[in-house]
Amino acid sequence: MTLLKSYYELCKPNVVYMMLICAFVGMLLAEETVGSFWYLFISLSGIAFCAASAAAINQVIDRNTDASMTRTDQRPLPQGELSATHASIFALVIGILGALILYLYVNTLTMILTLASLIGYAFIYTVYLKRATPQNIVIGGLAGAAPPLLGWASVSNTIEPYALLLVLIIFVWTPPHFWALAIYRKDEYAKESIPMLPVTHGVIFTKLQIVLYTIILFIVSLLPYVVLMSGEIYLFSALVLSTLFLYYSINLYYSEDDEDAMKTFQFSIYYIFLIFLALLLDHFIIIS
């Protein structure tokens, strides 16, 4: 049972669930009506296996760094619950399983896009970007922003502009989201010489970047309404949520307290969840 739980933890379940929600919203928005339950389920599980695989690969590669940070030292590999070999084999198996499901039951485009984001996160980000530049999470965020596109493509078998718009929202949201956490954990990143922005350019500069990205996010969050993809329910939700996010980030800018960084980080998670929920509600209330 503990072994099963270790493998479960290896998949970063919370992150994967959030990605699945975003992919799920992408699927539902792709059509005017809800498609067959079975098809949605099989597509989501294919994406889920690949995302879990990417998370596992990330933990295998980063196992030494993870061991020396309090945020990550409870993970199964630093704890010695799993060996690196077993974790690698597990990651390979579920990765191939996920890709096969997508190839056989969904479509080739979704498989390619999913594998591309897997490679983007597990290898390009983890191995190279993370240690190469303070812009690591900005560029790497593209892989994390892919889920709505994957979900959309699984239904439509094309790359739609609206799907890219959803990707853009997550892409712009990622830097303020992650940097808020990085401010809170800056000492640990510094110890591991990972060039996170607060380490290389200081906390004040990072806070300014958070404010600027939140302003861009404010504008980007209005785009679904502007391009006639969504209606007023979404507009009002986006205005309220983006204003709140802006409030949190400006508050963080003037605050001396690191706890405010944590609050901003936590709010950012609610933000992205509620934005996608609003997109969904708006879509189905307009149709019905």
Partner: protein, 324 residues
Amino acid sequence: MNQIKNLSLFGICMAFVVIALGAWTRLVDAGLGCPDWPGCYGFVVFPINEAEIAIAESRYPTFPYDINKAIPEVVHRYFAAALGLLAIFLVYLSLRKTNDKSIQGWSCFLLIFICLQGTFGYLTVSLKLLPIIVTIHLFGGFTTLLLLYFIYLKSRNFEIFNQINISNLKVISGIALAVLVFQIFLGVWTSTNYASLACADFPTCQGSYLPEMDFKNGFNLNQEVGPNYLYGLLDNPARVAIHYSHRISALLVTFIFLILMSRLWFSEAAPLASTLGILLLTQITLGIINVVYVLPLYVAIAHNLVAACLLLATFTVSYLAWKR
């Protein structure tokens, strides 16, 4: 129907002229150029030669005669009266030349409304330029223009308007119209309370982004008029509150219009987005010039007229979005 079309179009032009003349009257402080109504110092036009002026001044000893202030007031009155005659003729045409009940109804309403508007013209004089009355009088002018425009749209029956479907812009166009009307109110309130020059600098006001303001007195709609309201009675912080509200509200209008224009851009009525954008940009520029160059007369009148254009354009978008 053709005649109604042409007459209402001519009426729109006339309404613009009357609004411009009204603004002119206000801006050269000629609102009390004639102390009586409908005559001017008891004359049908206005006193011209020395003898007439002597008679005029003996009739109203407390109001020294100034021909430069009598002219705008009288010209405004006669053009407004001409617009009233036009409305009577429009009612006649609509009853005789068409069976369109809606056009007949709106024409009659226009006539009644213009009579009401004349009454408020009388009240601005008799109540000595009380701001709330002057404000209502200007809104009446804008509404008259809007009514003529609406009758024109009805009689013209544009084919393209019937084809365009932008019903997904209902809410945002409604919000934009409401915010615009609110902004026009603030603009008129600035003018009628002589607060246009309360802040002489831009974008700051009296060197600060948060100047001393007195909203309670600035927006007290039941204020005392005193002997008369020429040149305003409010103290400085109250005028600053009015002026600065108009500026802040302009930011809100711009924000709402940016959303409306972007959404229009992706709809079937995309060209209207440019129309709104150009008008909005012009209006903001004129507003800034008014402050920086100490209220040049023609710029101030243009600020008034472009506001009317912006109202017509925004009304058009709302009309298209809400039509059945």
